[in-house]
């Protein structure tokens, strides 16, 4: 792997692009949600203003060391995912630090941020944070199940755990995409994506009008700014993960933007149509069809 300073700077530039695209994407999706409700919604530049304001609040309170470290862990989860996902296939600058078994570490980073946030939020002492954390962790465990099964299915199919190899195997036209060669794994993963993006019907972790915003109830100012920064990076990184695994990767930033937008839109589309699940409903839902699809995807390939 290339560890030069130039490589690092290119990756940093990539992170900057991903952060800004994530914020633009989130405001666009909120505008789409507003249009569905018959409103105009927020201006497209609202996330940048919100972030500026959050970073410039005068009062910052802490509840202890872990309260500080929680958002840092969360940010690490998002940035860590970004670091090991090749953004643009075949381009040495934008393939980041992808290596031979990066899929495993991505699965780890997906959970990493949540665990850090759970520790940090619990130190805030808010009962609602604790409820949100327990809901989030139990739901995410069941989200991971179909996702992991789908990834095992891909590993069996392509005989590799490397992103770059999986993307390379999908080149040469839309019929080579995993979407067509392994539709069961794609189905399982796309259903688990609905949960990991945290939109309705699986937004009970942060349900604002039920348990005031859940884990980040006590987070404000810079802490919340860091969490929001991570949210923008994480959304693009997760969408890029699915794009690389199932939809042929991207050979240019333009292709990445189109594909990540459509993948993110899938969760927003479902979210604007369906109301919120309760925790036991959502856990059971993930353990039914998505898990069965995932198991079938492995059995068929054996």
């Amino acid at each position: 792997m290339d560890y030069s300073i130039t490589k690092f700077l290119w990756t940093l530039l990539g992170l900057f692009i991903v952060l800004n695209w994530g914020m633009l994407m989130s405001s666009t999706m909120r505008r789409i949600g507003a249009r569905v409700a018959g409103r105009y919604g927020i201006p497209w530049y609202q996330p940048w203003i919100d972030l500026t304001k959050l970073y410039s609040l005068r009062t910052q309170l802490t509840h202890g060391t872990m309260f500080y470290i929680g958002p840092a862990f969360r940010l690490m989860g998002g940035v860590g995912m970004f670091l090991f996902i090749p953004m643009v296939f075949g381009n040495e600058h934008w393939s980041n630090y992808s290596f031979s078994s990066d899929l495993i570490i991505i699965l780890y980073f997906q959970f990493f941020g949540m665990l850090g946030m759970a520790l940090g939020a619990s130190e805030g002492g808010q009962p609602y944070s604790a409820i949100g954390v327990s809901r989030g962790l139990s739901q995410f465990t069941t989200i991971e199940l179909p996702m992991t099964l789908a990834i095992i299915s891909l590993a069996v199919q392509y005989h590799t755990l490397s992103f770059t190899d999986i993307v390379a195997a999908q080149q040469g036209g839309i019929t080579h995409w995993t979407m067509w060669t392994n539709p069961l794994a794609t189905g399982a993963a796309m259903l688990s994506l609905l949960g990991s993006f945290g939109h309705s019907p699986f937004n009970l972790v942060k349900a604002p009008n039920e348990i005031p915003i859940g884990p980040p109830t006590e987070y404000h100012g810079t802490f919340l700014g860091v969490l929001r920064t991570n949210g923008a990076i994480l959304h693009v990184a997760e969408a890029a993960l699915f794009m690389n695994l199932f939809f042929g990767g991207a050979t240019s930033w333009f292709e990445l933007i189109i594909k990540t937008f459509l993948i993110y839109f899938w969760s927003v589309f479902v979210g604007t149509v369906f109301p919120r699940f309760r925790i036991e409903q959502s856990v059971r839902w993930f353990l039914k069809i998505p898990t069965i699809l995932g198991i079938l995807a492995i059995i068929i390939l054996l």
Binding site: K53, N209, P212, P216
Partner: protein
């Protein structure tokens, strides 16, 4: 603002029983002295937080004005005018005004209508938990002079004796359009650097506390809720 005289009050007589000092026997048999107000809460007073240098503060004030996060806490009948703001007819999101469910993440507190003494206590706790810079918008006549409840035995008449108010929206009830106009006025004040009421609260802290404690008889919280 500080024209009233500070009245020295015997604060201890308002202390609720659960906040009195007591000694507790621990499981190992030792006796532990507990002073709830000191042990369970932060006792620091609020400080005046100086703005940054002029050009920086101008930019930050612009960002603060364009990103007003309103706390979803309705105190009186005026809170019925807030839900229409998120509907297609009024759509406050266009102006950068959003609702937040927790005081920690909010900047604007709308006191929507009359304030019962019981609610005032919760309002004070909530206001003090919001991070600075924070703004209060007082909605309806009740917050100005008591309105139709001017002679009620358990509502306050003048809000600005208890908390610093940035913008008043007069009327009974003011329509959602009036609220939007209030937001526009608040933005104007913030951009001009005139919305520094959180600092004013810290400066005149003793006066506000004396007024608050005069009417809240069961004072069972610290002087400032961090």
């Amino acid at each position: 603002m500080n024209k009233h005289k500070f009245e020295d009050l015997d604060v201890d007589k308002f202390l609720a029983p659960e906040n009195e000092k007591r000694s507790v026997v621990a499981p190992d048999g030792s006796t532990v002295e507990i002073d709830p107000l000191k042990d369970y809460f932060c006792q620091d007073r609020p400080e005046v937080l100086k703005p940054k240098s002029a050009p920086v503060e101008k930019f930050l004030n612009w960002a603060r004005a364009e990103s007003l996060w309103v706390l979803g806490f309705g105190t009186g009948c005026g809170s019925i005018e807030i839900p229409p703001l998120v509907t297609p007819r009024f759509d406050m999101f266009r102006y950068g005004v959003q609702m937040r469910p927790t005081p920690r993440q909010s900047n604007v507190f709308i006191i929507s209508g009359y304030l019962a003494v019981k609610t005032l206590k919760r309002v004070i706790r909530t206001y003090e938990q919001m991070p600075s810079p924070k703004y209060i918008m007082a909605l309806g006549s009740c917050t100005i002079n008591g309105g139709m409840y001017y002679d009620s035995y358990n509502t306050i008449n003048r809000l600005d004796a208890y908390l610093p108010v940035d913008v008043y929206v007069a009327g009974c009830m003011p329509r959602p359009e009036a609220l939007l106009a209030g937001f526009a006025k608040l933005k104007e004040l913030i951009k001009a650097g005139k919305a520094e009421k959180a600092n004013e609260y810290a400066e005149n802290f003793d006066w506000y506390k004396a007024n608050q404690k005069k009417i809240i008889k069961d004072w069972n919280m610290p002087d400032y809720n961090w």
